[in-house]
């Protein structure tokens, strides 16, 4: 049972996703565990074959106790690095949150792979004690750098789910930000492959609403403090798009129908490929355009709170694929089973309050992103058309963008581009 949080003493096994005889690879999800904070997917860090399951769904298992056995080079399934780091705590130790215990010299095992532990000490010149990271973190506490903690707090990300690449496996900022590990210099020998966001560990299921509120507060305050927003709005004639979609959906069973929001998302994604200055991050006083079109989709949580997990490569998905992915994502948001990369990969956010019936939404940019696109309800409104004033379906598209990165003129062109794309829905 891995330790997944500073105050986690034990977890209840909810389900096995593997059975004896299954081949598993490093990074596979093998089980789901319910903790005080919600359900968490357990990722395995070894490859091999499951030989025996040591716990059954419903069992309460102390942190550090084995969940399963695995053949092959590594010993016990479920005995992740984190698990090794946390021997089953005694009742006394469990009484106090680990966060408040002082780091001790490792009489207790450390959060290190064995290979790391050996080399770290050997490489340290005896007289110098140079390696700052040779000391163990307190058992049970996630080892994460201050910069990683700061970013995780802003984004409401649980550090326990992230595989660290820093000193002694600590989670560093790039791990949270997602796959932004430094690249080797030109001509340099390739460094060992760094972990990308895709291989990071399980995210927690179920969110702590209070914590999420704090995270939203931090992120939004920072946004309004640091980002000079400018706002544009543009009303889009949706006659063609709505008509086309109605026709499409008419031929389909309900579960295969595509919502109009997908057209808006896809149009936004295609527009972004032509307006890269709205897709990326502003960090260290510089803008870095995103390498792909990952769009954060704002999803309200039941019971309060808000997340904007990323839909990946929206520009390359068909409307059907997009619909499926969005459905899956919303379902997982509601059940609290998000992957950490989904928290961190978005280069822009699209928020739609259409189902709430408002006309216009002016968003607050989610730092370090540089723009947020908002869509109100698609509804019948009076519009001056070629026929005079008609009642036609329209949507109000808005853009809040970072003036440090882009200017209003480009923003206007971007919104117009979305409009143009929506006039040719079959191309979406």
């Amino acid at each position: 049972m891995p330790s997944l949080g500073a105050d986690m003493d034990d977890g209840v096994l909810v389900e096995w996703d593997v059975k004896p005889g299954d081949r598993v690879s490093r990074g596979d999800i093998v089980a789901v565990v319910e903790t005080q904070k919600g359900a968490i997917e357990i990722e395995i860090f070894e490859s091999g074959t499951i030989t025996r399951l040591l716990a059954a769904p419903g069992d309460t298992i102390a942190v550090g106790a084995p969940l399963a056995e695995l053949d092959g080079p590594a010993a016990t399934a479920g005995e992740t690095e984190a698990a090794k780091a946390a021997p089953a705590p005694s009742a006394k130790a469990a009484a106090e949150p680990a966060a408040e215990t002082l780091p001790e010299r490792p009489a207790a095992p450390t959060i290190e792979t064995p290979a790391v532990a050996a080399t770290a000490r050997e490489k340290t010149a005896p007289a110098v004690e140079a390696a700052p990271a040779a000391k163990a973190a307190p058992a049970g506490r996630v080892r994460a750098s201050p910069a990683a903690r700061q970013l995780a707090a802003e984004r409401g990300i649980d550090l326990a789910g992230i595989q660290g690449t820093g000193p002694d496996g600590a989670v560093v900022r790039d791990d949270v930000a997602g796959g932004k590990a430094p690249q080797p210099a030109p001509g340099a020998r390739p460094a060992a492959p760094t972990k990308t966001a895709e291989t990071t560990g399980p995210a927690r299921r179920g969110f702590d609403v209070d914590e999420m509120r704090k995270a939203i507060a931090a992120a939004m305050s920072r946004s309004k403090r640091e980002i000079p927003h400018y706002y544009l709005s543009h009303t889009i004639d949706m006659r063609v798009a709505s008509g086309w979609l109605d026709e499409l959906n008419a031929q389909r069973p309900p579960e295969e129908r595509v919502l109009i929001g997908m057209l808006l998302l896809k149009a936004s994604a295609l527009a972004l490929t032509r307006f890269p200055e709205f897709n990326g991050r502003y960090e260290n006083e510089a803008f870095a355009p995103a390498p792909a079109v990952h769009i954060g989709m704002a999803v309200a949580m039941r019971g309060g709170g808000l997340v904007a997990p990323a839909l990946h490569d929206v520009d390359r998905l068909s409307l059907e694929e997009l619909m499926a992915k969005a459905r899956d994502l919303v379902a997982r948001v509601r059940s609290g089973r998000l992957r950490s990369s989904e928290f961190t990969d978005a280069g822009i956010t699209v928020t739609s309050l259409g189902e709430r019936g408002v006309d216009t939404v002016f968003g607050v940019i989610y730092p370090p992103q540089v723009a947020i696109v908002g869509f109100g309800t698609v509804a019948m409104r009076a519009l001056a058309t070629e026929n005079g004033v008609d009642a036609v379906p329209t949507v109000c598209a808005t853009l809040a963008a970072d003036h440090r990165v882009s200017d209003g003129r480009r923003g206007a062109l971007f919104l117009r581009e979305i409009d143009k794309l929506l006039q040719v829905p079959e191309a979406l």
């Binding site: 290979a115 790391v116 080399t119 770290a120 490489k123 340290t124 010149a125 005896p126 007289a127 110098v128 004690e129 140079a130 390696a131 700052p132 990271a133 040779a134 750098s145 201050p146 910069a147 990683a148 903690r149 700061q150 660290g164 690449t165 820093g166 000193p167 002694d168 496996g169 600590a170 560093v172 900022r173 790039d174 430094p182 080797p184 210099a185 340099a188 020998r189 390739p190 460094a191 060992a192 260290n284």
Partner: protein
């Protein structure tokens, strides 16, 4: 305009040029005249400027340092040479209790425009009474400006502004630098406030000064072969510290290792580390590392002396540890 010259020659040239430019400037210290300077920095000055301005002193560190302070108050611009930082402890009273305090105690009525030069550091097998790095002791004291030129250019160019400084300046010359060659442009000016970025990098900040700078740059070059781009900050001025420079570098790289030949406990490295914690804690991706001298009086035998001092492999190991990379470079 540039010339290829040793650090020793540059230090001597700086004194020569300062004395030639200003009749108030003179040098005094043990063996600066007839002997030519313990480290031969002042060789030839006696012949040029005579015994009034190249003043051999008795072995009275407190006496002649105090006299330098008094002469500075009396309108001269003395350069006091103390053989090594270890001997400067005999003059600590004059430097700390007088030079550093007189302006303040007198409510700004008196000032002490003295420059006190001394050799520092280990590496010449001079054992435990000639090898220590106590720069930090002086950097602790308000009222002093403390310089540690690491380059030929700096050791030349820092002296003139140090002499113009109306307040006491302590100038440290690391013994291992004297034979090092470098390029000197006599017309180039430096200020006495700023640290220098000696190498740009984005992955980690290595902060050093004086004799350790070159080891740090060597480590940075080796790290680059392994794809790690280290930024190297040369503090140059140990008091007042140019925190802006090293903090903005650490903000960029999120990681720092400080290389300081002083002993770790209570070191300048500790001060810098504390400032990093205070100012950029939330930007860090790793604990601040320190590579300092072992906590031992510097021993005589070469292998022990080397083991006691910050060396390139330890700097590399500390940098790699801060980056979460283990073991030998690939």
């Amino acid at each position: 305009m540039s010339e290829e010259i040793t650090y020793r020659e540059a230090a001597g040239a700086a004194i020569h040029d300062a004395m030639a430019a200003d009749p108030r400037v003179f040098i005094m210290g043990e063996d600066v005249g007839h002997y030519g300077g313990t480290y031969a920095v002042t060789k030839g000055l006696l012949e040029t400027f005579g015994p009034e301005r190249v003043r051999d002193t008795p072995l009275s560190e407190s006496g002649f340092t105090g006299a330098g302070i008094g002469a500075a108050m009396g309108g001269m611009r003395p350069i006091v040479e103390i053989m090594t930082v270890n001997f400067s402890l005999l003059a600590l009273d004059q430097i700390v209790n007088n030079a550093a305090t007189l302006r303040h105690m007198s409510g700004g009525q008196f000032n002490v425009p003295v420059v006190i030069r001394m050799a520092t550091g280990a590496g010449r097998q001079l054992a435990a009474q000639h090898s220590h790095s106590l720069e930090n002791w002086y950097a602790h004291v308000p009222g002093l400006r403390v310089l540690a030129p690491a380059t030929v250019q700096d050791v030349y160019s820092m002296l003139a502004p140090a002499l113009e400084d109306p307040d006491p300046v302590i100038l440290f010359e690391h013994v291992m630098l004297y034979n090092r060659k470098g390029t000197l442009d006599r017309s180039a000016a430096v200020d006495l406030r700023s640290a220098a970025i000696r190498r740009e990098g984005r992955d980690i900040t290595l902060i050093s000064y004086g004799g350790s700078l070159w080891k740090t740059l060597e480590a940075a070059a080796l790290l680059a072969e392994d794809g790690i781009e280290a930024e190297v900050v040369d503090l140059r001025v140990l008091r007042p510290l140019d925190a802006d420079t090293f903090l903005s570098s650490v903000r960029k790289t999120r990681r720092a290792v400080i290389v300081d030949e002083g002993w770790r406990t209570g070191s300048l490295a500790a001060e810098i580390s504390a400032q990093i914690m205070e100012e950029v804690f939330w930007e860090l991706d790793a604990p601040v590392g320190r590579v300092c001298s072992a906590e031992v009086p510097i021993p005589y035998p070469r292998h022990l002396e080397e083991a006691a001092l910050p060396q390139v492999p330890a700097i590399i190991a500390a940098a790699r540890a801060a980056l979460g990379k283990q073991g030998e470079p690939a």
